[in-house]
Amino acid sequence: MDKTIMYIDADAFFASVEQASRPNLLGKPVAVAGRNKRTVVVASSYEAKRLGIKTGMTKGGAKRTLPSLIIVEGNNEKYVDTCVRINEILLKYTPEVEIYSIDESFMDITGSFPFFPSPAGIAHAIKKEIKDTFGITCSIGIGPNRLIAKIAGESGKPDGLVMVKKEETRGFMKELPVGAIPGIGKRMGVALKDLGVITCGELLDFPVSVLRRRFGIWGDYVSLMAQGIEPLGDKRSGRPSTSIGHSMTFEEDIGDRATIKSHILELSEMVGRRLRKEGMTARGFSLTWRYPDFTTYTKRCSIPFHTQDGKMIYQVTGTLMDSIRLKDRIRLLGVTAFNLQKSMAISPLIEKSDKGERLYKVMDTINDIFGEHSIHRATLLLCRKHHWVISPAYRPYKSYPFRR
């Protein structure tokens, strides 16, 4: 039996959830952003998109573009819970469900056909249940692999259902612009255009050797993808995170080094907490800073061992900050951990050398029981509490946190 993959993407997810919970927002241009007056738009309703609102616009910029825009404060837990509950619906049809991001999931429904009528039947049932339960719509793509399913799903937005059979793959891909292939961004799209390649059909006929010379291994990948072949197979499904990071935009630009470093400590502690929650350790860390003119820089550093200790992360990122001569005040700071691996319990060779680790264990337990920030380093009292909204690319790391 041919493999059948279904891709489900909630349309304008955060904005749709807000419109469903607040019916007075229905049919109006809505954007979701953080509470901070200088945060950016993370999602917008189709009404807003049609009128020029784009993800990543500053709140002020979005308001200037569209004065009638309604900006709503995002609610992370509402979106994560909705994502979990949508995936509970998907699990009724197959146990092979992968949460790809907060608003996207893949299902392998190959084994579901003896129990359900057809792929289209399953898709219609899912769309109906999501609409009835949450009042939001989703787009579904069905294909012989994840790549085709995703491209099909994206092509039918909003509220669409597009099915591509294995034998229809080449024909389906041929007319699509190269930008429809996941991974081909604006820059690569321009580079391909310079080579005279605009559609997937043209990409298909283009010599792979030239693509490889121009883009390295990605040249081979995009050539395969233009044929509807997933170059990495399903090796990337259920993949662990490759990096974990947090960033914050300040209400006012900051220039004082002590304040900057207290925020770096805060971000480092947040990254450390997430590493521990996900059972990961990292040995690479980066510090990102943005000036008021939006020029953004990142500096990276690797250490010889893996850690999930917020203080250790701060020592690395704080040192990175010390090595920088700032040319202006700072608008945004970010800390990211990369080179991740699963954490392993190792007995300390020197007695009491695991004091820090034990301290974090106790702090994590207290925060798990009484809520985040119940206990934290006293230095962080200098930092004001931030309200941030997760990125739509966020993937809930525990699929079913509320299941009893």
Binding site: S21, R22, N24, E77, N367, D368
Partner: protein, 84 residues
């Protein structure tokens, strides 16, 4: 406009499916009994170990956000959104 309230309230509620489905029907606020016409959205949040059930409800004219703390068995009116 959304106004934060954070007041403890009394709620009339139907628990169905062995407590898995919670349906608030009315609540008392400022000496008035407000009948819930529709639950527009429901979601769950966690503060530490406490599971909180959140409800966006409407009485036909305003939108209210209610929360039910599962461990402490308390109901709160979190916010109210009036037209305009």
């Amino acid at each position: 406009m959304l106004t934060k309230i954070g007041e403890r309230i009394r709620v009339g509620v139907v628990f169905r499916e062995e407590g898995q489905k919670i349906e608030p029907r009315w609540f008392l606020w400022k000496g008035k009994r407000l009948t819930i016409q529709r639950v527009t959205y429901r979601w769950r949040e966690k503060t530490g170990k406490e599971l909180i059930h959140k409800f966006a409800v409407t009485d036909g004219s305003n939108l209210y956000e209610l929360s039910y703390l599962q461990e402490s068995l308390l109901w709160f009116l979190e916010a109210v959104e009036t037209d305009g």
